[in-house]
């Protein structure tokens, strides 16, 4: 008899860009459901960044309230040093610090990082990190049958209406995703 190999859920680390706009579009539950088969992480630095926006966007409290996200503390010397070296690549503005913490966590876990800052994506990939944006995430959900293309389009429009910068509109989604071989 052979033993079934243990199924290890892929680990994803989510940045503030993705979490905050899903929260503000009141679709955090949708995001959670789409990622149900993933081990999802964010970082203490990202949560702090979101906290600062709560006064303006109370919906951001939903991110901390959810128990589906594990929170990386980055508190061993190696982890803190890895974080600092990512800061040396991303910069030290508030958003940059959040991204640096996400990239450090992704590197530590061999995980996929999710962020919609294209400049940060470009740099993180140079260092060999697997990093993608929300459109890639939604296209993956469509491929897995968790989401229809029109539903993904609606979600994109809802996210864009909160000011999220995404590379395509809801109507353009199917074409855009096919152009990059995501669908």
């Amino acid at each position: 008899m052979t033993e079934e190999p243990a199924v290890v859920a892929p680990v994803w680390v989510l940045d503030a860009t993705c979490l905050s706009h899903f929260a503000r579009a009141e679709r955090l539950d949708v995001l959670r459901d789409l990622l149900v088969d993933k081990e999802c992480w964010t970082t203490r630095v990202v949560l702090e960044e979101l906290d600062k926006g709560v006064a303006e966007y109370p919906a951001l409290q939903g991110v901390r309230a959810g128990d589906w996200l594990k929170v990386a503390e980055l508190d061993t010397l190696d982890e803190v040093q890895l974080f600092a070296s990512w800061v040396g690549r991303t910069g030290s503005g508030e958003r940059d610090l959040g991204e640096a913490s996400v990239f450090a966590t992704a590197e530590l876990h061999g995980a996929t990082a999710i962020t919609d800052d294209r400049e940060a994506v470009r740099v993180a990939r140079t260092y060999g990190l697997d990093v993608h944006g929300t459109i890639w995430l939604l296209a993956g959900a469509c491929r897995d049958g968790k989401l229809s293309e029109p539903a993904a389009g609606n979600l994109i429009d809802a996210l864009r209406s909160t000011g999220m910068r995404l590379p395509c509109t809801g109507a353009e989604f199917s074409d855009y995703a096919r152009r990059y071989g995501l669908l």
Partner: protein
């Protein structure tokens, strides 16, 4: 090295940066939202900090986040151990703030070297002891010769220092300047305050420290005990900026006129007082002229008239050396650093909008 020992190093760095910022443990605790006893524990190495605490502490102390995590250059860590909490006079505090700025800049240079976009230059140094102003002047001419500057005006002192292996940053500082050598990398900071002539003199001064073999120096003003050393470096700087030979050649027959000296000060971009000192040293100035001209600094229009109103920008809008600036842009093009980080590394010389468009325009989703 065990984990504890390393946290103790972080604690020591934190303590130094805290004293430089003029904060007590209590002050820092309030600013970062921790108990004072926690700060004490962090400083003794018995409590860790996480990434978020590191951000808050670095921000309160106005240092880059990696500052607290990296060892100081050996020469500076030897000095730091001599600084005690209760000797925090203004002078020691300013000296430490200067040191913090210097080390942060050194880290920037080292980052680019680590990314392989900046090749450290061979450091231009002399083995010969330099113990008199005469020897310093000779050394300055040797440096000019090595860097193929002859006796011509030095257009960019930043560039000259860079060719000598010293990377100069012009920035906000408590003193005039400071310099350090860490392994094969030499870095210097020069205060943005004061006029360009003063900045050039400070940069030349810091170059002197490198060439005569000082591993570390800060120039917060002349201390009595260091007056002789400073006089040697002043002579070096003066000769780098405006070689005596230039004045001798012009003034050998009948001495030099005020207009001629104004033109030299403008072309060589020195302060008026330095030009007078050099003319005096060259023996082309009567005692009367020296006294009279010292009292009447030429106006800006007089200087500009002397050089045909050509704008002179060195150490005015320029903050970082040219080779360094190129390395920053290269690191950004190669995707090693983000545009935001590139702007940080440029220290105010450029903004985001100045970076070329099109890089990274097509990032896959």
């Amino acid at each position: 090295m065990s984990d504890d020992v390393q946290w103790a190093d972080v604690g020591e760095r934190l303590r130094g940066a805290r004293l430089a910022a003029g904060l007590s443990q209590e002050d820092l605790a309030v600013r970062v939202g921790l108990e004072r006893t926690m700060i004490a524990k962090i400083e003794s190495g018995s409590r860790r900090i996480d990434a978020l605490e590191l951000i808050r502490i670095a921000s309160a102390l106005q240092v880059p986040v990696d500052y607290l995590l990296r060892p100081a250059p050996p020469i500076l860590s030897r000095r730091a151990s001599l600084v005690a909490e209760d000797t925090g006079t203004d002078v020691t505090r300013e000296s430490e703030r200067l040191e913090v700025a210097l080390v942060a800049w050194l880290h920037d240079v080292q980052q680019l070297i680590g990314l392989n976009v900046l090749q450290p230059k061979h450091l231009l140094r002399t083995e010969t002891p330099v113990d008199s102003s005469a020897a310093a002047r000779e050394l300055a001419l040797w440096v000019r010769g090595q860097l193929e500057a002859g006796t011509e005006p030095i257009e960019s002192l930043m560039e000259l220092c860079e060719r000598a292996g010293q990377y100069v940053l012009v920035t906000e500082l408590p003193g005039d300047g400071a310099s350090v050598v860490d392994g094969d990398v030499a870095a210097a900071v020069v205060s943005i305050r004061g006029d360009p002539g003063r900045r050039r003199a400070t940069a030349a001064h810091e170059l002197g420290h490198l060439v005569i073999g000082d591993e570390y120096s800060n120039d917060l003003g002349v201390h009595a005990s260091r007056a002789d050393r400073e006089a040697v470096l002043d002579a070096f700087a003066a000769e780098i900026l405006l070689p005596t030979q230039v004045l001798t050649e012009i003034g050998q027959a009948d001495g030099i006129t005020r207009d001629q000296l104004i033109e030299l000060a403008a072309r060589y971009r020195t302060s008026w007082s330095l030009a007078i000192r050099q003319a005096d040293h060259a023996g082309v100035l009567t005692g009367e002229a020296r006294r009279e001209w010292s009292r009447s600094t030429p106006t800006r229009a007089e200087f500009m008239e002397a050089v045909g109103w050509v704008p002179q920008s060195d150490l005015e809008s320029i903050r970082v050396p040219p080779g360094y600036a190129h390395a920053v842009v290269e690191a950004w093009r190669q995707g090693r650093i983000t545009a935001t980080r590139a702007v940080e590394l440029m220290h105010g010389q450029i903004t985001l909008a100045d970076l070329p468009v099109g890089v990274g325009a097509d990032v896959e989703p």
